[in-house]
């Protein structure tokens, strides 16, 4: 072992309690960071999966007027043919069409404003599967062609249960009053208060008929096999299926706030690291300053017998670097144990037994950690760099010592 490393390592353990305290603080910092990163990555992975994978899809096709106006007439025509073409397109995992409208939903006794969504139940299973969120009755594909599933809040308001009938009254695309009778086959709790209070899910053809929009939808949702290939898939969909008359966008173009939120993940992680390791850095600074102050005479001797200022500086930096390395080893061990728990068991984020929702989309309230390599190496690199940075000042002080002055110190 090189002499400087040997001295640095042995010096580290001269003040065992102080070194252990510093190492412990930094190891806990690394462990905390790794756990926080696992949770953050888990939350964002889940959000991404639900918001992008299930709600937005990787690619969306709209009428160009839809994003700004969201008018009933702003539709995508020839839906059946386009869906067949999408099914045949390489890189497409699933595709679905959605038709939506606001209208009046009337039960036997009362009525309420509602948001109707027409979907193909099988195709929708691959996108947003509400099947498992049905709390009473069944999903729409298990009922008659005019089957509907309603949100739990709306069911309560309209006093409707599976087997009851619901009337839709709205404006149809041909200018007439669109109306349709649906048989309620299920009640769903989506986790989103808004959707539970106003949502009605029906088969796409039934809603197309009610709105006089045959073979049309307001959006096509395409899920690719690889999220990183979303932009390439967009281009393929635009070129081969949608054509220039329609607006084809990747998920991040369709929902910039979602993209921004998902990108903010790294900012959140950066903030955690900054806070944790600012404190840890002060710990190292304190330790190294005390080491240098206490060993002023000894450092003076080293300089007197010929150690260059650069080597003295290197010695102090090495000691700090070793604190960082030892802390990293302990911290990663601790962090991996916590990560293991977070991955296997997870954290229940539900408040009072209620589910989690974001942007109207329900999430599983148990967040499981996701361990990415950067969630391990980033804190380790950061802690070693912080240790070295914190040692620069004490190191410079040691390097600049005048031997004769330093050796006078007791």
């Amino acid at each position: 072992m090189p002499i400087l490393l040997r001295i640095a390592w042995r010096n580290l353990w001269r003040q065992q309690r102080r070194t252990l305290l510093t190492v412990s603080a930094m190891a806990v910092g690394i462990g905390m960071c790794m756990a926080m990163f696992a949770i953050i990555d888990g939350v964002y992975a889940r959000m991404f999966d639900v918001l992008v994978g299930q709600a937005l899809g990787h690619v969306q096709v709209h009428n160009p007027a839809w994003p700004a106006d969201q008018q009933l007439y702003d539709t995508v025509p020839g839906v059946d043919e386009k869906l067949r073409a999408l099914d045949a397109l390489p890189g497409v995992k699933a595709a679905g069409a959605r038709l939506s409208c606001a209208g009046l939903a009337a039960g036997d006794q009362t009525s309420s404003g509602a948001f109707f969504l027409g979907v193909d139940p099988q195709r929708e299973d691959a996108l947003v599967s509400l099947r498992r969120r049905v709390v009473r009755g069944s999903w729409i594909d298990e009922g008659p062609p005019n089957a509907a599933v309603i949100g739990a809040g709306l069911a309560k308001e309209l006093e409707l249960e599976p087997g009851g009938e619901l009337v839709l009254i709205t404006q149809a695309a041909d200018g007439s009053i669109g109306n349709a009778l649906f048989t309620v086959v299920g009640v769903v709790e989506t986790g989103s208060a808004l959707r539970d209070r106003s949502g009605v899910w029906a088969r796409l053809p039934a809603l197309q008929e009610a709105l006089a929009l045959p073979d049309q939808a307001h959006e096509l949702i395409v899920l690719g096999t690889d999220i990183d290939g979303a932009d390439a898939l967009r281009d393929a969909v635009a070129a081969t299926v949608a054509g220039p008359a329609l607006l084809t966008r990747s998920w991040w173009q369709a929902s910039p706030p979602t993209a921004q939120m998902i990108n903010s993940q790294s900012v959140g992680k950066g903030m955690v690291m900054l806070i944790v390791f600012s404190v840890a850095g002060l710990g190292v600074l304190n330790t190294m300053l005390m080491n240098v102050f206490e060993r002023t005479r000894e450092l003076g001797v080293l300089k007197a017998i010929g150690m260059s200022p650069q080597r003295v500086m290197a010695l102090v930096l090495l000691e700090a670097g070793l604190i960082g390395v030892v802390s990293s080893a302990a911290g990663v061990t601790l962090g991996l144990l916590v990560d293991l728990y977070l991955v296997k068991v997870g954290v229940d984020m539900s408040a009072g037994g209620k589910g989690l929702s974001f942007g109207g989309v329900a999430f599983d309230p148990v967040i499981r950690g996701v361990v990415n390599p950067d969630g391990v190496w980033a804190p380790v690199v950061f802690v070693v760099v912080v240790s070295l940075l914190a040692a620069i000042w004490p190191g410079l002080r040691a390097a600049r010592l005048q031997p004769v002055d330093a050796m006078r110190q007791r």
């Binding site: 005479r297 007197a304 017998i305 260059s308």
Partner: protein
Amino acid sequence: MPIVSTRQLHRTYLQGEGEVHALDGVDLDIEPGEFVALMGASGSGKTTLLNLIGGLDRPTRGEVQVDGHALGALSSGALSRLRLDRIGFVFQAYNLIPVLSARENAEFVLLMRGVPADERRRRVDATLAAVGLEGLGDRLPSALSGGQQQRVAVARAIAGAPALVLADEPTANLDSRTGTELVEMMRRLNTEQGITFVFATHDTKVEERARRVIWMEDGKVQRDERRG
């Protein structure tokens, strides 16, 4: 050519409002192979002179040359290199590196110089034998007596075969018998290996064994006595 040469060497310290003239115009030449004792009362300037010769301190005025190098012209790094290559130090308080064993302390200068391992081992073995520390090389300084620690310090000072060894009160912390043994040992090294020794000391044992005694008072050379 003298191994050490000082010309009109002054060192003034600020003390409170006033100045203390620790050295006041010292002219001195020391030839290679000399065994010199700087004697004088506390505050006479002998340690200050030793520090200036060793490049551990800078003079207020005047010039020091060691082994042909004008120290005033050297940067801090170059001074370190000169000390590493040409000067050995023995201090009153031993000043060993506490985390290194006796052997590692003796080896330290050679390691700093980048001497190959085989040669390092050979030289350190010989040096530890020369100072009578065979078998004690693996001990940490804390496991050695004062006399043994000072022998390690001497081993560290001479292991690199320096041109000059500067020893500041090397026997002050040792009992009489151990001090005598240490002085005898350094005298032997001076005779056998031709190493130049310069001591700052109060110790009459050193004075008795010195070939040259320089008496200092109030920062000046009072008397310079050469002995056969």
